[in-house]
Amino acid sequence: MVKASQQEYEELIKGIWRDNPVFAQVLGMCPMLAVTNSAINAIAMGGATFFVLVGSSFLVAAFKSWIPKQVRISCFIIIIATFVTVADYTLLALIPGVHKELGAFIPLIVANCLILGRQEAFASKSTIRLALLDAIGMAAGFMLALLMLGAVREILGDGALFGIKLFGTQFEPWVIMILPPGGFLTLGLLLLLFNWLAVKRRKFLDEVIKAERGQS
């Protein structure tokens, strides 16, 4: 086992915070808004995306030198679509209830620009090892974002988390949260929060640099 280098660690971790596909790159908005009305749906969607992204990144990185550049996009799409179909049927067989709620959004993972984007921008230009680390980091970041949105919407919209009621029967659900506008609202407010945190962090770093300069 090779010890993880600094770069490998970076590739793994960047997708979760700094380059988070949702909060930093604002990619994959379609499933993000459509299926996050409960935490279970978010996990299922995140899991399917994880499987597709990691699987196709591995194959693309492994076969990158065999694929002629003229048809690389077609090949990526074939690989991605195969994984999506596998995920679709597996979910349908294992958890039909969740599959019914996700509906058309499982096949639509093919069109998630996050996945094709990672193949074109990263996996097709790097080693298998790095491509896998990158895919795992990105997919985990995506799943985390889905889960955050799903949890907020389910708690407010249904008074529950993972289907378990958190409050008493008197709880009045915020219906808008499980409807599409709730997705837009929650996503907008979370983006606001993350940008605010980023600005705060930058200000703090600037001040630290200033202070250090002043000392020296």
Binding site: R72, I78, T82, T85, Y89, L92, P96, K125, V175, L179
Partner: protein
């Protein structure tokens, strides 16, 4: 190695790739993908079919209380016969109790709701001329209001013993007569849609339904 971990695949250099190479690559990719898809389809086929059948069975058993087995009946050439319905072919389910006596029909129906098509299944007893149960199978009615057509136990219970002649009527402020259904407050349109869907299905089906002979427990029905 540390300087450059990202490998440049030959694509930036101006190498000419022959057309046959491109076609071959795509063909191989397509072939492998096809094999994988057929593989997963075969592997999951039985489970998926089983899930669907169980879902339907559960629904039929809910709307026809007291039954023990069921058979699918299709309307073909002017009469109701046992058999599997082809796509778009009208069909109902006949339910039998544990001694094989015929109890009633579970009738699937669909129609426009407030948001989208509502698909439901209801049980109908021929001997009493009453609807004995109703279950919404698919709907996208507004959460909190329209979805009470399946979440509100009182509304669902309105269909546990409901006369169908001379047609079901939606009323407000408590149902009294045998053919009246009390509308849900705040979801009048969805309640009305359910009643309308059932009335339409009744019009289509009631004249075609015939009493079924009892089956003796020889495992003929889908158990």
């Amino acid at each position: 190695m540390k300087a450059k971990n990202i490998i440049e695949p030959g694509r930036e250099s101006q190498t000419v790739v022959s057309a046959s190479r491109i076609i071959l690559t795509l063909a191989i990719a397509g072939l492998i993908s096809g094999v994988a898809i057929v593989g997963i389809y075969e592997a999951t086929f039985d489970t998926i079919a089983e899930n669907r059948a169980r879902e339907l069975r559960d629904a039929v058993f809910t709307v026809l209380p007291g039954i023990d087995s069921m058979r699918e009946m299709v309307y073909r050439e002017g009469q109701l016969v046992e058999g599997k319905a082809a796509i778009e072919e009208p069909s109902v389910y006949a339910g039998y109790d544990s001694s094989g006596e015929f109890k009633g029909y579970a009738i699937p129906a669909r129609g426009p709701g407030f948001q989208d098509t509502i698909v439901l299944l209801y049980g109908y007893r021929m001997d009493t001329g009453r609807i004995v149960g109703m279950q919404v199978l698919e709907s996208r009615e507004t959460p909190g209001l329209g979805d009470k057509i399946f979440k509100d136990p009182e509304f669902v219970a309105e269909f546990n013993s409901l006369e169908v002649q001379p047609g079901i009527v939606l009323v407000k402020g408590g149902s009294r007569a045998g053919n009246e259904v009390d509308a849900i407050t705040g979801a009048t349109i969805s309640s009305r849609a359910v009643v309308r869907i059932i009335n339409q299905a009744n019009e289509k089906w009631l004249s075609k339904l015939t009493l079924q002979h009892p089956i003796r427990s020889n495992g003929k029905g889908e158990k």
